[in-house]
């Protein structure tokens, strides 16, 4: 395997991951910073840790969907008139072009302040490559339709879940005559639900993936562990809430509501971290999916159906995201912190739980969904439950428009880059592939 070409690829993946960190990550912590639960600095550190953990522990699950699910590599191989090693070489060029175009599009979007999804960018780019390289038929349109549908389903599901969770909080706590007293009773259940979502996702998918050899980590055991952790955190939360709100039932309503919000501050931190974790898990595939494919081709010289994602590639992706967060995302986060927002911790928790659960479920179903848009859907859901004092529908429309434009835009950029790459680099890459086969 040529170290130089792999280094170039790694740089591309890193560039993409950097863009994700610069553009997207601030969104995952938006609720925590927006409700004043975390300072900007704390949020950057927390997001960095959670994104990295999510990327490395859970990341690999969606990787092959993007590579193999959208474009069928065998369609490339069965094209007439292909030289030996040419399909593999085309795939290398195509994946590089996809990475670069998605990253460039993202960078452009960040620069112009357009809210685009990293997931949408890479999916569009890979599809663009498939259309030009192997014809429209090579794109798995069934799979593509499923993915596109999930972009609409995931905000809807996130919105519905957020609506229900907030309605429960609103009806059982905020709408009670003594919100402080009600919060003592109800909050532990919400903590239980939150803990279940986070721990199940982390253990069942995360550690199982890293610690493959451990046999006793069966579904039942996983469930038991999640249950144990959830019960412990439920008890802790119960004690904490009781200590904070125990004798506050007779205070004026406004003060009680304020105290309840205070109790939800630690929860919104945890739930925002969960969003960052889910985001890392979901979006790292955008940067390392194509990279894994290329690394495998250059290593073996063949195009395989299943590509193992080496840990170092996931670490690279996670590192890139953290780097983007630390160098540029910091600034985005700072504007988040200084802007007055009208989201309170109870709303933040509801939105975060809904978004995390939706993204993790979609990741599990191997559907690459956009974290940002799921969170937007969740926020809209809370707005519909009359939980937010105002949602800017113009921004919501802007998000929706960028939704529609991203896939074709990334596809077009990718097509151009691929054609250039094929014209200039095909022979060079083919020799690399052939050399790998001999070795």
């Amino acid at each position: 395997m040529d170290i130089l070409i792999l280094a170039v690829m790694a740089l591309l993946g890193l560039y993409m991951a950097w863009n994700i960190g610069a553009n997207d990550v601030a969104n995952s912590m938006a609720d925590a910073v927006g409700s004043g639960a975390l300072s900007v600095k704390q949020a950057v550190i927390a997001a960095g840790i959670c994104e990295f953990a999510g990327a490395v522990l859970v990341g690999s699950h969606v990787t092959d969907t993007i590579r193999k699910g959208i474009v069928d590599p065998s369609a490339l191989a069965s094209m007439p008139g292909m030289l030996e090693g040419e399909p593999a070489a085309l795939l290398v060029i195509g994946m590089s072009a996809a990475l670069l175009s998605a990253a460039v599009w993202l960078n452009f979007a960040t620069w112009t302040g357009m809210p685009v999804s990293t997931t949408h960018s890479i999916v569009g780019a890979v599809a663009g490559f498939g259309i030009v390289a192997a014809g429209i038929g090579s794109v798995n349109w069934g799979k593509m339709g499923q993915i596109v549908a999930s972009w609409f389903i995931s905000p809807f599901a996130g919105g519905l879940m957020a609506f229900i969770i907030f309605k429960i909080i609103s009806r059982m706590i905020l709408g009670q005559e003594q919100p402080a007293k009600a919060a003592i009773k109800v909050t532990p259940y919400i903590v239980f639900f939150l803990a279940m979502v986070v721990t199940l996702a982390t253990i069942y998918k995360g550690f199982k993936h890293v610690l493959k050899g451990i046999d006793w980590l069966t579904d039942t055991h996983t469930l038991l562990i999640a249950l144990a952790i959830s019960i412990v955190s439920t008890i802790i939360s119960r004690l904490h809430v009781k200590k904070k709100l125990g004798d506050k039932g007779s205070l004026p309503l406004a003060q009680q509501l304020e105290l309840v919000e205070e109790v939800y501050v630690p929860l919104v931190i945890i739930s925002s971290c969960a969003v960052a974790f889910a985001h890392g898990a979901n979006d790292v595939a955008n940067s390392v999916g194509p990279l894994a494919a290329v690394a495998n081709i250059l290593k073996t010289g063949t195009v395989e159906m299943k590509v193992p994602v080496p840990l170092w590639i996931l670490v690279l992706g996670g590192f890139g995201i953290v780097l983007g967060l630390a160098t540029y995302g910091y600034r985005v986060m700072a504007t988040v912190g200084t802007k007055i927002t009208e989201i309170t911790p109870t709303r933040g928790v509801a939105a975060d739980i809904a978004a995390t659960a939706t993204v993790l479920i979609c990741t599990r179903m191997k559907l690459p969904v956009s974290t940002t848009h799921t969170l937007v859907g969740a926020i809209m859901g809370i707005g519909l439950a009359r939980g937010l004092t105002g949602i800017d529908s113009r921004i919501a429309k802007k998000i929706f428009k960028s939704w529609l434009v991203t896939v074709p835009a990334a596809a077009i950029v990718c097509i151009i880059l691929f054609l250039i790459g094929r014209a200039f680099l095909l022979d060079f890459v083919r020799e690399l592939v052939l050399a790998a086969r001999i070795a």
Binding site: P115, R171, T335
Partner: protein, 223 residues
């Protein structure tokens, strides 16, 4: 830059509560005005009228501030129409309070001893009506926090029921006071009677607008 943060509009409810409070400050000036009238202290009336005008102007400033929080593109937990009608009703209350002060400056009128007590009772009743509205409307921030439902909504709806009753009382008092005024037609010159009638009508319209604002508040909650 950060799109999710941009998604959140500023809350109109905080400034709205400010507006309610400022409007009520205008209404609070009516009693001192009446006292100055009884004492025939017309300089004091002029001074108080200046003060009401300034308060009314401040309320207007807050009103514009609230409107700035309500661009058409905002998706809100209450109907925009109801909220806007609520603001304009409150705005009218402040306007009418200012009108009342202005009326008193127009002419050096004396308050006839026969109607004096009833006049003050009527003023107190008006104050009762707007005070109930104030108590209900300052809960708007809490209502938003409790997403316009549950116990808090019930409390405010009950207050509003009380508001309707108080307004009805004010109406009856206005009628009875008018009768008393006309009963004095032999002792008073017609201009003074017109003047009293003007005062009663203006005060009555304050109670009316307070009721309208209360009705809008109710529709907002019951959306």
């Amino acid at each position: 830059m950060n799109i999710i943060q941009e998604l959140f509009g500023k809350s109109p409810f905080g400034p709205l509560v400010e507006h309610t409070k400022k409007v009520h400050e205008c209404v609070e000036m009516i009693r001192p005005l009446m006292e100055a009238l009884v004492n025939e202290n017309y300089d004091e009336i002029r001074r108080l009228q200046d003060q009401v005008s300034r308060l009314e102007y401040e309320a207007d400033t807050i009103k514009h501030n609230v409107r700035e929080h309500l661009p058409r593109r905002y998706f809100m937990p209450v109907e925009r129409v109801d909220l806007e009608r609520f603001i304009s009703s409150q705005d009218n209350i402040a306007d009418k309070a200012e009108d009342f002060a202005v009326i008193l400056t127009l002419r050096k009128t004396k308050l006839h001893p026969e109607v004096m007590d009833k006049f003050f009772e009527f003023v107190d009743q008006i104050f009762q009506v707007t005070g109930t509205l104030l108590t209900a409307a300052v809960e708007l921030s809490n209502l938003a926090e409790a997403s316009f439902s549950g116990a808090e909504a019930k409390v405010v709806l009950n207050l509003l029921k009380g508001l309707n009753e108080e307004e009805w009382k004010a109406d009856r008092m206005a009628r009875s006071l008018s009768k008393d005024v006309y009963a004095l037609e032999k002792q008073l010159d017609p201009i003074t009677i017109i003047f009293y009638e003007k005062m009663i009508l203006t005060l009555g319209s304050i109670a009316n607008e307070a009721e309208n604002a209360g009705d809008m508040l109710r529709t907002m909650i019951l959306k």
